[in-house]
């Protein structure tokens, strides 16, 4: 059970405190309610580029990293479709340095052209390194727009294209900051070996004077109901074909999310899963295969993807996956034992995750951001309460041919 306290500053900054006296460390984690879903479709990748600029100096501090390193601290950040999250880990006695740095960049960045130019170069290299210079690296860049036609989940956090990153100017950055980087649009967790009183004192000194600003309304275009299967085939320089079948799923706050998550585990989490056992081990169709849910705050996706063995056609591979999906929908085909197995795996993953104070701090902010901080404590209970019928219902309602999107990512040699 994670015991935490919450309070809100006058400027709207939501603060969570979690005390752990066993660690010598303290964490300052700040989540901004802005991700790639908040970008203009003609100017994507901005939220992520902005994350890089948050380390290039702020109103009163020319350099972010050096003072933190001097205090014995480390930091990093990540951007996804829904949020941008910054964290600092510091020896507890030096936590004020983290407050100083984090509050100053919330107050204002330094907005230097030179820093923008350098970071655009860095992000272009990241785009190449992670997405363009790897076999199958652009798989998600190709799959997303097939799943989502209206919603901004149709593009990846890195952006649709390198040119979107390259065309960003200082005015874009300033407007983005003004719109989203406000106390009222952020959630902060202070965790580790620091008392609640000290946390309040430091919040009052460093964060209270920052003007409130706007809050993200989180309103996005809705997806229309998909009425027919989508099948797309691309040919790329890869050694082996990859097949993916995806479905729009439910939001992270929907109770059915846990049924979806467990269903993906039953189908394709480990070597004992149905897809691996049947399609890799017994039928020799796939070389590797997995299933997972993407877990966005909004309507996420459910994905099955695998690399086929040589000589297997995409049609045969796809049919084999469908056979497994349909089998699971049959009454009596899914046992309590199989559900218990994935339940136990989920519990182990949860327990190990909560051992690290940084993970707890992030999970508290994420739970709060999706509207229910108690998810952090209730998640094991929600998972345990999923029944065989819940899993089957999800499969029957969501994993249907007319709702499916198939991407055949084939080796160019096949063409």
């Amino acid at each position: 059970m994670i015991k935490y306290s919450e309070f809100v500053l006058d400027n709207g900054l939501k603060v969570i405190h979690y005390h752990d006296s066993k660690t010598p460390l303290a964490i300052l984690n700040v989540l901004y309610n802005v991700g790639s879903r908040d970008e203009d479709p003609n100017h994507t990748g901005l939220a992520h580029l902005f994350e890089h600029l948050m380390f290039s100096g702020s109103a009163n501090i020319p350099e972010f990293d050096t003072p933190l390193q001097k205090a014995g601290g480390t930091n990093n950040a990540f951007t996804n479709t829904d949020i941008t999250n910054y964290y600092q880990t510091v020896p507890a006695e030096n936590i004020e340095t983290a407050f100083w740095l984090e509050s100053d960049r919330m107050l204002s960045l330094s907005f230097k052209q030179e820093a923008l130019d350098v970071q655009k170069g860095v992000v272009v290299q990241e785009f190449r390194q992670r997405y363009l210079n790897q076999p199958y690296g652009d798989f998600w860049l190709k799959l997303r727009p097939l799943i989502y036609k209206n919603h901004p989940y149709q593009w990846a956090t890195i952006g649709k294209d390198v040119s979107h990153v390259e065309k960003t100017n200082l005015n874009d950055i300033k407007s983005f900051f003004k719109k989203f980087y406000n106390p009222s649009n952020a959630i902060m967790c202070v965790a580790g070996n620091i008392t609640l009183e000290r946390t309040k004192e430091l919040c009052s000194k460093w964060f209270s004077p920052i003007p409130a600003g706007n809050t993200n309304p989180n309103v996005y275009p809705k997806e229309n109901e998909q009425k027919a299967a989508v099948i797309e085939t691309v040919y790329e320089d890869v050694p082996q074909d990859m097949i993916a079948i995806a479905f729009k799923s439910v939001s992270r706050t929907d109770k059915r999310y846990y049924a979806a998550d467990l269903l993906s585990d039953i189908l394709g989490r480990a070597e004992s899963s149905r897809l691996f056992d049947n399609l890799v081990r017994k039928q020799n169709i796939f070389n590797s295969i997995s299933a997972y849910v993407s877990g966005e705050a909004g309507e996420g996706s459910f994905i099955i993807q695998g690399r086929t063995n040589p000589g297997v056609t995409p049609e045969k591979a796809s049919d084999a996956i469908w056979e497994q999906i349909e089998a699971l929908k049959q009454e009596g085909n899914l046992s309590d034992n199989e559900l218990q197995k994935v339940n136990n795996k989920a519990e182990t993953a949860y327990q190990f995750g909560m051992l690290q104070v940084l993970n707890v701090a992030m999970a508290l902010c994420l739970s709060k951001n999706i509207g229910d901080i108690e998810i952090i404590n209730n998640e094991p209970k929600f998972i345990r309460s999923v029944t065989v019928n819940d899993v089957r219902d999800f499969a029957m309602n969501f994993l249907t041919k007319e709702r499916s999107v198939t991407l055949n990512y084939l080796s160019r040699e096949r063409k």
């Binding site: 020896p91 004020e96 350098v118 082996q240």
Partner: protein, 427 residues
Amino acid sequence: MSNQDFRKIEPRVYPLSLPVLTNPQKVSKGIFGFFKEDTDVFRLDIVFPNAGIGNGISAKSGIICGEMLLSGTEKYSAQQLNENLDFYGSYTNIATSYYKTVLTVYGLNRYFEEIINLIAEAVNHSNFPEDELKILKKQKINNFRVQQQKTTYQCASLINKLWFGEQSILGKPTQEDDYNLVSREMLLDEFRKNFSKMFIILSSSPELKSKFNVLETLFKHKLTDEISFSAKPIEFVKELPSITNTFFKLSNANQASFKARLEVAPRNAKDYIDIAFLNLILGGYFGSRLMKNIREEKGWTYGVSSRIINYAENAFIEISGDINVDKAKEVKQEILKEFQLLQNKLIGTQEFETAKNYYLGNLQSLFDDFLSYSERHFTLLETNQTIEWYNILGKKIYQLTPEQILQAAQNYLDSKSLIYTWSGPNS
């Protein structure tokens, strides 16, 4: 003072103190433990000290043997074994290095006995079914083909060949046939020869101490107190590079990858901690010279880093990164420039103190991560040290001076002996 002027004043930084680490408790023959209160989960590391690549019968038989430890026994098929291990919520990982193979198990305390019984069945009676071997070989070959399309892989392959020599198991480039040649008989031989001895490190809450007799009983025939590794010494051949053997062309690449190596003294050398700190300054953290120069000032790369790779008798620094295609040659010059600076100019006080505090803060984080102790401990065993070596590291970092780092730079950052390779769309 304006109402925001207080923000210009840096808060006071307090000196860091480090706790003292102790070696794992020896509980009985071949069984050791790290204990911490209030954990509902455990980590168990089973270390096979003879089962490293260095002792393998063929290029890939050692790795495949390790990876197939959970692929079936007389009693259980691979599917049954995995199904049961998954049922009890456990996660496993198998890693083979030059010196050893380690099977790591993560699980819930309440299923400790059930999980350990299954692991013991696998570790004592693996029978390497032919069908499972066929599947794994196919996967390995497929992954190998994917890797071959990566600039990072080709670059690493080139530098390993130059560094260790083509006759060495670490330098010989992998071929598909290396996997095809592995047979079930070879694995059974490997298993008999190299997996017959093991020691265990359990990281858990003290309540699991009462279960040690289970470990003793289940693994009694294999447990050993010999916790040193038997692989033969590694030789650095360091073949002189030429234009033809330092570049690998991948026509469709969007980016180039580079790697550079330089021999340094090993971990048991008197000045090793000076070298470790020199490496930190050069490319060992976000604020390093190379990161500042190549990423933060020039924007040529998403990341560049340097690290020390240690073996029992020798060690090297490796600098690597992925970079804009037209900068792969220039980056070598930038590395050499940084070498020169470090050799000719004392590190300034601010940079030195910042890096020192960063190092100490990192050690504090490391000491806080209880579940990582065992891995750090058995990695240090490769160089005949134990986790208590970190206490010496901590103390020496406090005492370091910029003069010592200058001396280390002059002793080891020898531009002429740097071996540099890269891979990309054009040379």
